[in-house]
Subunit: 346 residues, 4 copies
């Protein structure tokens, strides 16, 4: 069985494991106060073209943690976070935002994306209402890029959202759980320095892009930068042997490994993308990143399922459904060759 | 200016004030442990055809408190509450449910109402999903009756919801902020004993039906009945001079005053309802309770606004909008006579 | 039975009820946006020698609400509130502060009071520790004045606390549930303008000083003054018929009624104080306010209990215990005459 | 510099790393639903002499998570957790318990331990009080074993606590962050099956005993066993590549490695213990586990600090302080030889 159902099925890129093994018996201070974490923070700042005066970098274990922490740090008790209705925090984090006391204010989304205009309207509806004091006040905009559907915000779109947020006094937070796959995608025009300039907070995901686990949280808004580590500790997000996170990000970003393995996954995904198109399978979302969502007949999918694992996404009609194929840093050319061949032979 | 814009503009029914005045200098224990509260609890239990073995009655100050407390008492930390998208807890309580850590799981609504079938589907989607552990689990169904739009659930509809909840292991909670106006409405077929039998918790609103303030919370589910008063105290809902609540409910329910004044408001509302219809104004919702929502031309509404206060509800098109007129226990026949006359003369 | 066991046994001062009755059928906007609330806010600002640029006044129903709201508005998620170990929020509010996510950092207290020095030390221990990020960070100092034991902070003590808080970047919040009894006490040297100048937030209690219910929250710190009403609504502290609060504070503060009735209670309490002393009963706390705590023999207390209600406080030894006698705005000279006479005759 | 200042300075026991490396490129389901986690759960159940009908095992990343999750799963909103005043959750988890809405009810402790009798008294004080509804209700007892000071509860003491909890309707939770060091200590008479029988929940710590990270949470109380994984996800404690936890516990418990490496650390700690005693340094706590707390003169400590790292604990007087030396699975005989020699030569 060749597996394409998710992008976190394997462990870590071998370079990551080597690094952990090589340093295993060193003694370092705990909780992220070691030299490896310091070095990794500097490296990420430089990749984002920032310095320590303008941004902080924190390493946490997973995406739900990264999101919940950043949102909790940002919002006053009566504020909520604007988000696409299918945004990860609204559907697949088990109510983590609400558990910290805040409402997710869900907006209708197009291919998983929301617009600056929608943010304006929503703020208007909550803030200018005569019932203002009876309504949750928007305090932040959350979006994921790539989205949950593999689609991408353009530089123009993110800029518009950023300007709107600044005008309206909202913070802008981008969940980059699949950041690498977005950065290296065909047609992407956003860079890490762009994120650092346009957002108040964003994450660079390691879990799905080569690490055993780990997300880097980049904070640029001054109000987020005070005592964030206290919040990390309180929410169980401060790893005792914090260096494990620093070491992994060092392994991934030294020499640009992160970008190369992400480009590898994207290229393989686009091979699938084109194979689906050539075979006449519509693509449910216009994704150029590592997740692809073809719509196919149940019959053909059943055949494919004998040899390949993929994820059910959505029933379309009696005879068809959309499914998800993921590639990752760990996907081999051979596996994609086989899959493409078998699609063509269906 | 004759005011129809809400149902809480005046103070209390004179009988309520008389009762407070007559007992003012008596010394009683605080926090609802006085004899008046005890008597009022018994009276409400008897009106609901329950006894103290089967239900508890608590008095709190306002509706947001009543809702937030009952929901917080019911849910485990990872559970949420199913609710119509326009339900009060989802839009007009400033995130009170989320502030206690729980997600409001909003369902599309028809005239403010949700159905047993929708509840089934939603539970299915959250509970049977392979992503179950990543999703908020429904633990309760919240509905308001009358709804925020003045519409009513029938006995059959509430029974279906109750049966569905019991089958699925959810609690059913009815927000009765305007309970009196629902009970006395044309076509209503639900009684207080029905609520007590069908629901795990429901409220009988005083604030909008003759009291200065006060909601009675009736709890029938055993799991809600333990230490509810601890929760009341913790959330600031335990009135030091608790007797003020007991006395008001005594004044309203002794001799059935609550029902008579609610019937009065409903009858006046239906006079408006018919006047709107006769004048050719469509009714935006099919309400037979004390809130009426005609759609009229901006021109005619402007004329009316010179003499009458009413609430903007929704813009319909260039030239029309829906508005809300409320009657209450305090609305006079004369005010309705004048309004009906002026509508006919437009 | 003459009752001295608490200061909230009766309803309201007759002037308060008159005011509510006289305005009962007026129609006003809800939620505290009426003219009476506006007038009451101005009156309180003027009594505190503040103007609306420098302070906000909000009316809430009870003390637990007032405390929980102000603390929730002030603290970041990882911050806690310093407080005397026997402070009301630490022992008798059922965990209201923790329910909003914050730790009460309890300090040992002398006669219910804490000192500027203790605050310094506690901040030092939490902030300068190498384990800083593992510890709750102090964000506010809470104290009650009069304390739960009837004792008072002097102007010098409150000034020292205020200066310490400002130096250390903490907010200072005074719970004035019995503010009137403190202001009018023998030896008190604090005024309402002092509170407004020294504190970031404080309350002026109505519930125990003549109102049916109601606490005025005075906020001077800019960071507390944004969207406080959203928080009030969210926590169920925004009264629908908000004018009931405005009207009560108008009745109490117009013409200085609040101060006169508080002085009356204090004077009666000091008659008891002296009677206890003359009879040779030690006073457990050095209170000059409306609560008095004599230590007496079980035998004498049993005799007294036949005719007077008072509260058990603490067992001292085999044969003695401390008890609490309260006076209030509602206590009559006659009741105190009788009690003093009976003490002397024991 | 030889480091004795903590027990989490190194990475993992080599066997753990080998296991992670060997399986690195396998593809498994995420979130702990893989075969390695299943196997590790079974192994831990068998080590605890339980079966899956009677207990659940969950793997989380760190101790703060394990504690916060278990406590949040156990308590109703108005309940708190009884705990030694110096218990980890009360001082060094940055308010994690309070962040989930619950008060830590701190009890005075002797050598870090609390007694069944104290639990009885505290429950009495909160539950039987006339002010019961104004007080946080105890719902759980938390203790750590070994304690933060290296001391141990005996079987008799834990049994008494367990019986008291069952009688009083409290849950008993033992934080076993250093479980291995407790189990293998001289004089310990508790076994893992004892914990499983006496406690409603307990943890077996991996982070400090050979793992890169990871705590096993064993739940025996039925009310804790429903939907615990939903809570894990919500609080960011569900590792995407969950197998990393399963694999580590497999490596540690197959063949009893966990017990052997813990015994190694305890034996080295006792060599230090005896060296301190022989040198005439009093031991601040009576620890027979991997943490040792000698009291020494500043002068001698300064000499030692030139070659050894240890942790400051507490200033005793002008010239003396208590310090902490930790051993761990990673400490070498040689390092202890050197330290013992240098102590003797002081």
């Amino acid at each position: 069985m060749l597996r394409f159902e998710c992008d976190y099925g394997e462990g870590a890129h071998p370079r990551v494991l080597e690094r952990l093994t090589a340093t295993n018996l060193e003694q370092t201070p705990g909780y992220g106060e070691d030299a490896y974490c310091a070095e990794a923070r500097e490296l990420l700042l430089s990749v984002c073209a920032q310095n320590a005066d303008r941004a902080d970098v924190h390493f946490v274990i997973g995406g739900t943690q990264a999101n919940a922490l950043t949102i909790a740090a940002a919002l006053k008790p009566w504020q909520g976070v604007l988000c696409a209705v299918n945004g990860h925090i609204n559907v697949h984090e088990a109510g983590a935002v609400e558990a910290s006391g805040h409402k997710v204010l869900a907006l209708p989304a197009c291919e998983g994306k929301i617009t600056a205009e929608q943010v304006c309207e929503a703020v208007d509806a909550h803030r200018r209402s005569s019932a203002r004091e009876h309504m949750v006040q928007p305090g932040m905009v959350y979006l994921s890029n790539p989205t949950e559907f593999g689609t991408l915000y353009s530089r123009a779109e993110l800029t518009a959202l950023s300007e709107t947020c600044r005008t309206l006094g909202l913070l802008l937070f981008v969940d980059g759980a699949r950041m690498g796959y977005g950065l290296m995608a065909e047609g992407n025009d956003l860079t890490l320095p762009d994120y650092a300039n346009l957002c108040d907070a964003f994450t660079i995901g390691g879990t799905k892009v080569g690490a055993l686990f780990g997300e880097a949280v980049i904070l640029t808004a001054p109000m987020l930068r005070t005592d964030f580590r206290c919040l990390m500790k309180q929410r169980g997000a401060m790893l005792a042997k914090g260096r494990l996170l620093g070491l992994q990000f060092l392994a991934l970003f030294e020499g640009g490994l992160y970008f190369r393995i992400a480009a590898h996954a994207d290229a393989l995904a686009m091979r699938l993308h084109r194979a689906f198109e050539q075979h006449g399978w519509p693509l449910f979302f216009n994704s150029r990143t590592n997740q692809q969502f073809p719509v196919a007949s149940n019959r053909e999918l059943a055949q494919l399922a004998e040899r390949y694992a993929f994820e059910e996404w959505q029933r379309m009609d009696e005879g068809h459904r959309a499914v998800r194929f993921c590639t990752s840093w760990a996907t081999s050319e051979d596996a994609v060759d086989a899959l493409v061949h078998d699609i063509c032979s269906l």
